[in-house]
């Protein structure tokens, strides 16, 4: 089913265009927004199913054969990522219905959300480096606008840093693509894979790979390029930061994994060794940053960085088991992190802020919310048998198998520190009595809006538990994704056709 490959791009685009056409009607935009996200989710499920059944699939856009036209490729990794985008997109669209204010909806919130999803899916599916740049830009501009939409001061401040540093990343990426074309005469990733491998491994190619590493590293928020993330992710409304936290940085990680398994494997000792080192620092500095925070979303933001470290740790170790661990980690993290930001939004709705000293008493007043926080939070900290445990364990196991004791040690200690900051939120926001609140006064019931916000939260929490109780499905997917990534021959053949 080849059209399945393009659906994740054209469905959100159609939805966005529809929202623009109906831009005067808020209700129509809400309907189109949710419908678009739902359609994307369905398409993503079908795509993954089809890739699982038939293996890597490629479609030559415009029927121009690779490497001349642009090829969209879905292997298990990208299909899985598209599915995750679909899940996050759908959950967020539901959540937004209850939590986004009318003014933002009026000014294009739903259209932009769909543009964002389009860019993300495009980046996951494309098999062409310049096209990858284009999708990054689509995703970025949508995120810029969503970040700034609403015009509050904090948003403006966050957006300035977010925009500037991400534009740096885009500029470096664009330059890298240009140089790569100059060096190889092609843009198709599969073709690049062949041509780079055929070249004598020279310093220039490694330099280009470093440019990609920096460009994607900024987008993925690795050490020491992550500054824009903690400066901005806590400023927009909850659903926006949830989608950013869940999806956006993972696109950078995806691109890193794709490029450094498919194209840049000519100098593994240097490049992947460097990535491992970066991973260690990223994990540590992220989690330490979180420990220093005392605001719900800031803690979560710094944790994204820390967990990006885990994701690229698998890439750095560069074995099939390790990459499988990375893939599993990404999938787990997207679901869990999105959910935690959702919960933070509910906490804000109930208590009026994100600062931990102003929160409290949520466990007593809203035990269900507490449970739904506890599931993703403990999963994030790697407590078994939730999804995060398997993610962390897969990486630890892969690391110890090749005697990467240093990085595994860091990963384990960071796990403990993650637990520390999750319990900090739990202790302050949920256990601690609400400040200034008479202990005996009964809690006001949740508003209908807040209860609607709990629906996507519950869905994602259930998913987290399900992955934990039956990790086999996702594990098999990750293992297969890793096998495909580590042996790109199948990918190349699928894109380029059988070598004549």
């Amino acid at each position: 089913m080849k059209p399945l490959l393009v659906l994740p791009i054209i469905l959100p685009l159609a939805a966005a265009a529809g929202c623009l056409l109906a831009w005067r009607s808020r209700v129509a935009q809400r309907v189109i927004g949710v419908a678009g996200a739902a359609a994307l989710l369905v398409a993503a499920v079908l795509l993954l199913q089809s890739v699982w059944r038939d293996g890597v699939q490629a479609v030559q856009i415009g029927r121009w054969p690779a490497p001349f036209g642009i090829t969209l490729v879905a292997d298990t990794f990208s299909a899985l990522m598209v599915l995750l985008a679909g899940i996050v997109g759908f959950a967020t669209s539901l959540y937004s219905l209850a939590s986004i204010d009318a003014r933002r909806e009026q000014y294009g919130y739903h259209a932009l959300m769909n543009v964002l999803l389009m860019g993300v899916c495009g980046a996951f599916l494309t098999g062409d480096v310049f096209n990858l740049y284009v999708w990054f830009e689509v995703m970025l501009i949508a995120s810029f606008v969503l970040m700034a939409l609403g015009g509050e001061r904090a948003q403006m401040e966050g957006a300035i840093k977010y925009v500037t540093l991400n534009l740096m990343s885009s500029a470096i990426l664009l330059a890298a693509v240009g140089v790569l074309y100059g060096l190889t005469g092609t843009l198709n990733m599969a073709d690049l894979s062949v041509r780079v491998a055929a070249r004598p491994a020279g310093g220039v190619m490694t330099a280009v790979s470093m440019m990609f590493l920096v460009a994607f590293g900024i987008k993925a928020a690795v050490f020491p390029l992550f500054f824009w993330l903690p400066a901005s992710y806590h400023t927009p409304p909850a659903p926006v930061s949830a989608v950013f936290a869940g999806l956006l940085t993972k696109v950078g990680v995806y691109a890193l994994i794709r490029m450094f398994t498919l194209v840049f494997t000519h100098d593994v000792a240097f490049t992947h060794g460097l990535i491992t080192l970066v991973a260690a620092f990223t994990m540590l500095s992220g989690v330490l940053g979180a420990a220093a925070q005392s605001e719900f979303r800031r803690i979560l933001s710094f944790h994204i960085i820390s967990q990006i470290g885990y994701m690229i740790m698998g890439l750095g170790l560069f074995t099939a088991a390790a990459v499988a661990g990375s893939v599993f980690y990404i999938a787990h993290h997207i679901i869990v992190k999105t959910n935690l930001f959702f919960v933070s939004g509910v906490a804000r709705r109930l208590r009026g802020g994100y600062r931990l000293d102003g929160l409290g008493g949520l466990y007593r007043d809203h035990p269900w919310l507490a449970l739904m926080f506890l599931v993703p939070a403990l999963s994030l900290a790697g407590i078994p048998p939730l999804s995060g445990f398997f993610a962390k364990f897969a990486l630890v196991r892969a690391g110890l198998a090749i005697e990467g004791y240093g990085i595994v040690g860091v990963a384990l200690v960071v796990g403990l520190l993650t637990l520390y900051s999750m319990t900090k939120i739990w202790s302050e926001a949920f256990w601690k009595p609400a400040p200034g609140n008479a202990a005996e006064s009964p809690a006001p019931p949740m508003s209908a809006d807040a209860r609607l916000m709990l629906v996507p939260i519950a869905l994602l929490a259930l998913l987290t538990v399900a992955i934990g109780l039956a990790p086999g499905v996702l594990l098999e997917l990750s293992v297969r994704a890793a096998e495909e990534l580590m042996n790109p021959a199948g990918y190349v053949t699928c894109v380029m056709g059988e070598p004549s």
């Binding site: 059209p3 159609a14 529809g18 056409l21 831009w23 856009i61 415009g62 029927r63």
Partner: protein, 138 residues
Amino acid sequence: MTSVILTTTARLLHPVLLITSIFLLLRGHNEPGGGFSGGLVAASAFALHAMAHDARQARRALRIDPHVLIGVGLLTALSAGVMSLAAGAPLLTGLWTSVHMPGLGEWAIGTPLLFDVGVYLVVVGITLLIILCLSEAE
């Protein structure tokens, strides 16, 4: 700002610019030009109008809301691509047909041209949206 000279120039230039823009759009496939430059020229026609009169007048002259123009443009480009899906070919595959134009001979008409029209519309829409908003924000 509204001087008589500017108003007159704008009135005279308006149709010229619009025709030029369509010319650029159509010839783009064979000569320098295309939807993007054509769109910019068309937008400049209305921008000039806005400078000569004011933004509200320019909006009136445009008749269509820029938002809608963008939406229509996106959908046009998209449908140019999706048509080939219906024909069983991959997305954005060019479908061509030959049309006999009196005086011009055989003309190849295809979905890539429609796609370029979509680009044209989007460019007109966004340029105007930005310029009109900015000049209204005074």
